[in-house]
Symmetry: C3
Subunit: 224 residues, 3 copies
C-alpha cells in the first residue's frame, strides 16, 4: 500500500484526488482480477471465461459502487481497467495456478481488501454520501466482485464462509470514515485505515480468526 | 398498512409525496431486512453476514427499481434505511429465530409484498414510467431483495417455488396502476391495491393456493 | 439478420440510428425471452415465473449495458419490449417446449448472439465508450441475460460450459468495432460482423467446436 505512494508524489496527487484514486484502483483491480482468473483456472475453463471471471471480479465491486452513488462507471470511462483485467487473466493462464501462486494471491487479496475498503469509502465520500453509506460502499467495493465471482462459479460466496473477509473491509472503511469525520486528511486517514484492515484479514489467514456465529435456535424455512 | 397513515396526516403528506413514499419504505425495509437476517440465522452466520443479508434483502428491490428508472438510489441519499436494516439484523440476532418469529415474519412479509408492490409502482409512476413498466417495477421492488437473498444463501429463489409471492406483488401493482389510470388519487388507489395483494398472499399462506404449472412436455437442455 | 434490413429502408433508418437499434432490439429481445420461457418450461413453472424468466432473459443484457454506459434503460422508456417478452412467454406456454422448438430456438439464439454482440457495441459507441469497452458491452448485451437466467434457474451458467457462446458474441462485437475504427459505416460493419459471429456459434452447434481449456495445474481453494 504505502509503497505505491512516494512522498514526493503526494502533493500533486492530492491536488488531483481523482488521479490518486485511479492509481490505487489499478492495483486493486489487478489483484482481484487474478483471483477471478484463478477461480476459472480451478475449473479448467477456456481463455474467454478466464477473461470474464477476471473482469467481473476485478471491476465488479467498483461497478456496483459507481452505479449506487451515481458516478460514471470507472472502467467504462477508462479502458485501461479492462486491459489490466485481461493482463491478469493472461498472467494466470501463462504462469499456472499452483499452490504458491494461490498463497501469494491470498495475501495480495488481503491487501486489496484493506485498500479497496478505503478506496470505496473515499469515492463515496467524494460524491457526497453520508458517513454510514461510505462505510457500506467501502465494504461493497472490496467484496462484491468476489461475491459475483463465487456465484458465477457456483461456489458458496465469501458471505457464507465463516472467515473474516467482509469484516476486514468494513474495518478499513470504518476507520477511514471515522478519521475523516474527526478532521484527518485523506491520505493519513487512508494510511491508517487500510493497513489495519489488512492486518485483520492477515490475522484471520494466519491464525484462523473468525467472528462468533449466531448462537440462537434455527428454523427450517425462509420466508419469501 | 392502513394504520401507518392516520387520516389527519394525509393532506400534508400528499403535498410531499416523496415523504410519504419514504415513510412507507422504512416499514417495508425493516420487514424485508428481518427476513434476510433470518436466512442468515438459519445458516448460523456471524453478525457481519447477518447485517449484509439484512441490508441486501431490505434495500435490494428498491435499489434495482431506482437504478432502472434513473432515480438516485434511495438509501444512498438517506442513511437511515441502512440503519433500519442493521437494527433488523440485530433484533433477529438478539431475539433468535424460533418458530413463532418465523411465522410472524411470514405474515409481515406478506404485508410487505402488497405495500412494496404499490410503492414500487408509485415511485416509477412519479418518474414518468409507462403503466406496464410501473407494474413491473412494483413486482421487482417487492421481490428482488428476496431473490438476491436466496441466491446469496444458495437457496432456490422464490421464482422457483410454486408459491404465490411474485403474483401477489404483481396484483397489488396492477390494481394500483389500473386505478391510477382510471383517475383514482394516489392514496385511495394504494389503500385498495395493497390490501388485495396482501390478501392473495395471505390466502396462499393459509390455504396453499398456487398458480397452475406449465402443462406441456419438457426438454432436456436450455439453449444458451 | 440481413433480411431484417431491406436496402431501400436503410437511408431513412440511418438518419435515425436510434430507431434502427430499437428495431433490432425487438427481434433479439423476443428470441432471448423465448429461451428464458423455455428454461421455465423445463422446470414446469407457472405463467408468472414464465413471464419473469422471459423478461429477465430478454432484457437483462441490454439493461446491464444501459446502466453501465449511463443510458436510460431502454425498456423502461418503451414498454413494448416487456410486451414482447410477455408475448414470448405466452407463445412458449401455448406452443409447448418439445424437441423441435428447442432446436429452433438454439439457432435463433445463435442469430441473437451475433446481432446483439453488434448491437451492444453500437449502442456503447453511440454513447462515446472507447473501442475496447464497446467490445465488452457487445458481449455483455448478448450474454448477460442468459447468465442471469441460468443463475436464477439454479443451472450452471454458459460461462461454465465449454461451449462457444460468449466467444461468438465477442467475435461479432470485435469485428464491428474494428471495422468502425477502420472507417467502415455502421450498417456495412454490422452486416459483416453479425453473420460471422453467428457462423462461429453455428459451427460450434453443428460440429461441437470449443476453445482449449486451461492446461495448467489446479488448486483446491479460491482466495476470497
Amino acid at each position: 500500500m504505502t509503497g505505491l505512494v512516494h512522498p514526493e508524489l503526494i502533493s500533486p496527487a492530492l491536488a488531483h484526488p481523482e488521479t490518486v484514486l485511479g492509481a490505487l484502483d489499478f492495483a486493486g483491480v489487478a489483484v482481484f482480477a487474478a483471483t477471478g482468473a484463478l477461480a476459472a483456472a480451478r475449473e479448467k475453463h477456456d481463455l474467454v471465461t478466464f477473461a470474464f471471471f477476471a473482469a467481473i471480479t476485478g471491476v465488479g465491486g467498483g461497478t456496483l459502487r459507481d452505479l449506487l452513488i451515481g458516478a460514471p462507471v470507472f472502467w467504462v470511462q477508462d479502458w485501461r481497467y479492462i486491459a489490466v483485467c485481461l493482463g491478469g487473466a493472461l498472467a494466470v493462464w501463462l504462469v499456472g495456478a499452483g499452490e504458491w501462486r494461490f498463497r501469494a494471491l491470498l495475501w495480495l487479496d488481503a491487501i486489496g481488501l484493506g485498500a479497496y475498503g478505503v478506496l470505496g469509502a473515499a469515492k463515496a465520500e467524494a460524491f457526497g454520501a453520508p458517513p454510514l453509506i461510505c462505510i457500506v460502499m467501502g465494504a461493497l467495493t472490496a467484496c462484491f466482485g468476489g461475491i459475483v465471482r463465487d456465484i458465477l462459479a457456483g461456489q458458496p460466496s465469501i458471505l457464507l464462509r465463516r472467515e473474516i473477509t467482509v469484516s476486514a473491509a468494513l474495518l478499513a472503511a470504518t476507520l477511514y470514515v471515522v478519521a475523516r469525520e474527526l478532521g484527518v486528511d485523506h491520505w493519513p486517514a487512508a494510511l491508517i485505515a487500510a493497513p489495519i484492515g489488512f492486518a485483520l484479514r492477515a490475522g484471520a489467514l494466519a491464525w484462523g480468526w473468525s467472528l462468533p456465529a449466531f448462537p440462537g435456535g434455527f428454523i427450517r424455512k425462509t420466508p419469501s
